[in-house]
């Protein structure tokens, strides 16, 4: 594998962690729920996914249980912020911190153990093409699933009745209620979906991308996923591009260093964050665009008292 092939194919697998988590957060935010516990949900699912895969040897089983763990954590958030009407920001942070601690506890006995990642898929014909095959057609199946998921989520949010209902809850829950949608049910569902996706992201991180468990291994990737949703102005296509851009910058840093270019490595390490700030500044400069895409009632609790 040449450095360029490694760079491009590595970008795809690095981006998948961000993409999965950001897509889940997008759906939750579209329904008006700002869940800041993504980092924690990913950590707990990474621990659970690793432990299950380590014990059973089945990646599919590990992935499924990790998703269940993600959903479970997200439902704690949903219960407190939707049913008990607590502030979403505070609840999300609290649940996130709790989950980080619990993930360390779950993984305690498995600290620094490794498993083998599943083999990447091999498509006869396509995977053999020089360069293109190595870059695009020798990835793990989850990489393709994540791409497929973004198309499906874009379609669901924009073209289906369900998507309309989710968006209505995020824009104007009162109006959604008036249209006889059950706001709490939809929000619960959207948050749980976000939990499931964070679960996939966590399991991907601990069993496929870096097949080992170590406390703190998510290392801020959950926060980047939250930022990506804003970065992509709540549009699936832009979030997709953002995730790949992030993957590329993270990987690029390492490739540039290994090739021995005279660029300070600290500068390169800071790049993903510098790019985030720059893009956010550019996006925020155009307030109308932000307002157009940001769910109007994002982060607001809705008790439905007026319609009762």
């Amino acid at each position: 594998m040449t450095p360029l092939e490694f760079f491009l194919s590595g970008t795809m697998s690095a981006a998948t962690v961000f993409l999965l988590a950001a897509l889940g957060e997008l759906v939750a935010e579209k329904s008006g729920m700002l869940n800041l516990g993504v980092e924690g949900m990913m950590a707990i699912s990474a621990a659970v996914g690793f432990v299950v895969t380590y014990q059973t040897g089945s990646h599919i089983f590990g992935f499924s249980i990790a998703a269940v763990a993600g959903i479970f954590v997200s439902l704690i958030f949903a219960l407190v912020s939707i049913t008990f009407l607590a502030n979403q920001v505070a609840t999300g942070l609290a649940v996130g911190i709790l989950s980080l601690g619990v993930s360390a506890l779950i993984g305690k006995k498995y600290e620094s153990l490794t498993i083998s990642a599943p083999d990447p898929i091999f498509i006869p014909g396509l995977s053999d093409i020089p360069f293109i095959g190595a870059v695009f057609f020798q990835q793990n199946i989850v990489v393709y699933c994540a791409i497929l998921m973004s198309v499906m989520i874009a379609f669901c949010l924009n073209k289906t009745r369900l998507g309309l209902a989710i968006r209505a809850c995020g824009e104007n829950p009162k109006a959604a209620e008036a249209l006889s949608y059950s706001v709490w049910k939809i929000r619960y569902g959207a948050v749980a979906f976000g939990g499931m996706m964070a679960g996939f992201a966590g399991a991907y991180a601990s069993t496929i991308y870096t097949p080992l468990w170590a406390d703190g291994m998510i290392a801020g990737r959950g926060w980047i996923a939250v930022a990506l949703v804003v970065f992509g102005t709540w549009k699936t296509s832009r979030i997709f591009l953002g995730a790949y851009l992030f993957g590329m910058v993270t990987l690029g840093e390492l490739v540039v260093q290994s090739l021995g270019f005279a660029v300070p490595s600290q500068f390169l390490t800071a790049m993903p964050f510098v790019i985030t700030i720059v893009v956010l500044a550019i996006i925020s400069a155009d307030m109308s665009r932000l307002r157009l895409h940001a769910p109007y009632s994002l982060g607001e609790t809705y008790d439905g008292s007026e319609s009762r």
């Binding site: 690095a14 620094s112 080992l212 170590a214 390492l254 290994s258």
Partner: protein, 362 residues
């Protein structure tokens, strides 16, 4: 954001710890030893090696010593509070396991002359405060020799945490060792700028391999991230602080491990009979603290005997890793022929030797 979260979590851990420490302090006769560690104690790695270092003390003193270990504490206010609490709880011998604990640890030592401190990787001393570091570069020099024999591409790769003197001197030692066998060898480095990011470490290892490296040096990675990539991608790999052979059964080049027992036992002895003296403890192959072992079976017998001979020479002082002539990576002479780089020069080293491609981050 992340650091705040870790902090809050660690605060909770600290609260739990203090309950335990109070119970421990109840019995008067025993020596309470406080141990403060920057990372979780796993089966391998830095913190693990430090804790293992007390085995000698445990054997010698049995039930007369009691350990209060707090792991995974970030350098900063949290660490300060916990080490103060350790002293308050009656621990009379304290191990500070990270460079960044230095300044507050030293202050604490000056306020509490009856407590003995040993501090990993620092350089400041007091009467009851000894910093200790290992001459890892002596071990990595030997690993470099082995790497030189096994590499086919003549390209070696290093994944390093931060470009600080301790790591630079180790990588320089590795390069000098390799080029003592084959002067055509070059070394690439990727700095993670993080003590802990396994995902990034693995991606870095893969990047180095993609760039042609076929022997890897996992420098200051507490997880087997780099080691397992080596096995997967077929590159020889070695690491510091504790064997990770289980993660690379066929491609493990060896380990430069540290055995702190002689030093810790001597320090505890000194504390108990009042002869402890704070000084800079810089320990290497000669003190049996730095040990290169678990050598790969792929190294030829001929090379192995060469390595053993060099090891003996280093231990006896006949050979010095930083003996001139040594050029830096720009080709300028840093150490003249017949001279040796002095201790201060090694402890504060901020240049790469010739053969390292990667420029030093400034």
């Amino acid at each position: 954001m992340k650091s705040h979260l870790t902090k809050i979590r660690n605060t909770a851990a600290a609260a739990l710890f203090s309950v335990g420490a109070v119970c421990a302090a109840a019995s008067a006769e025993t020596l309470n030893i406080g141990v403060l560690l920057p990372s979780p104690i796993a089966d391998v790695g830095w913190s693990h090696a430090l804790v293992e270092g007390f085995n000698g003390v445990k054997e010698k003193y049995g039930d007369n010593v009691k350990f209060n270990i707090v792991e995974n504490i970030q350098e900063g206010p949290d660490a300060d509070r916990i080490m103060n609490k350790m002293v308050g709880d009656g621990n009379k011998f304290i191990l500070l396991g990270s460079f960044g604990y230095m300044n507050s640890g030293l202050k604490l030592a000056k306020r509490n002359p009856d407590v003995t401190f040993v501090h990993a990787s620092g350089y400041k001393t007091a009467k009851n405060f000894s910093p200790f570091t290992a001459k890892y570069f002596e071990g990595s020099y030997l690993m470099g020799m082995a790497a030189a024999e096994l590499t086919k591409s003549k390209k070696l790769g290093v994944v390093g945490a931060y470009a600080i003197p301790e790591l630079i001197s180790t990588i320089n030692g590795f390069t000098l060792g390799a080029r003592s066998i084959d002067p055509e060898i070059t070394v690439d480095i990727i700095w993670l700028n993080s003590w802990f990011d396994p995902a990034k470490a693995q991606a870095s290892a893969k990047a180095l391999i993609a760039n042609g490296a076929d022997v890897l040096f996992s420098n200051s990675q507490d997880t087997p991230s780099v080691v397992s990539v080596g096995e997967e991608e077929g590159a020889y790999v070695f690491n510091l602080n504790g064997s990770m052979k289980a993660y690379a059964p066929t491609k493990y080049l060896g380990v430069v491990t540290t055995d702190w027992s002689p030093f810790f036992t001597a320090s505890v002895d000194g504390h108990l009979n009042g002869t402890f003296e704070g000084r800079n403890e810089w320990l290497g192959v000669d003190a049996d603290v730095v040990v290169a072992e678990e050598w790969s079976a792929d190294i030829s017998a001929e090379m192995m005997s060469k390595i053993k001979a060099v090891e003996a020479e280093i231990a006896s002082g006949a050979r010095h890793v930083y003996a001139g002539p040594i050029l830096n990576q720009d080709g300028e002479q840093m150490v003249a022929a017949g001279e040796r780089l002095d201790d201060g020069g090694i402890l504060g080293i901020n240049w790469h030797v010739q053969g390292i491609n990667t420029p030093l981050p400034k």
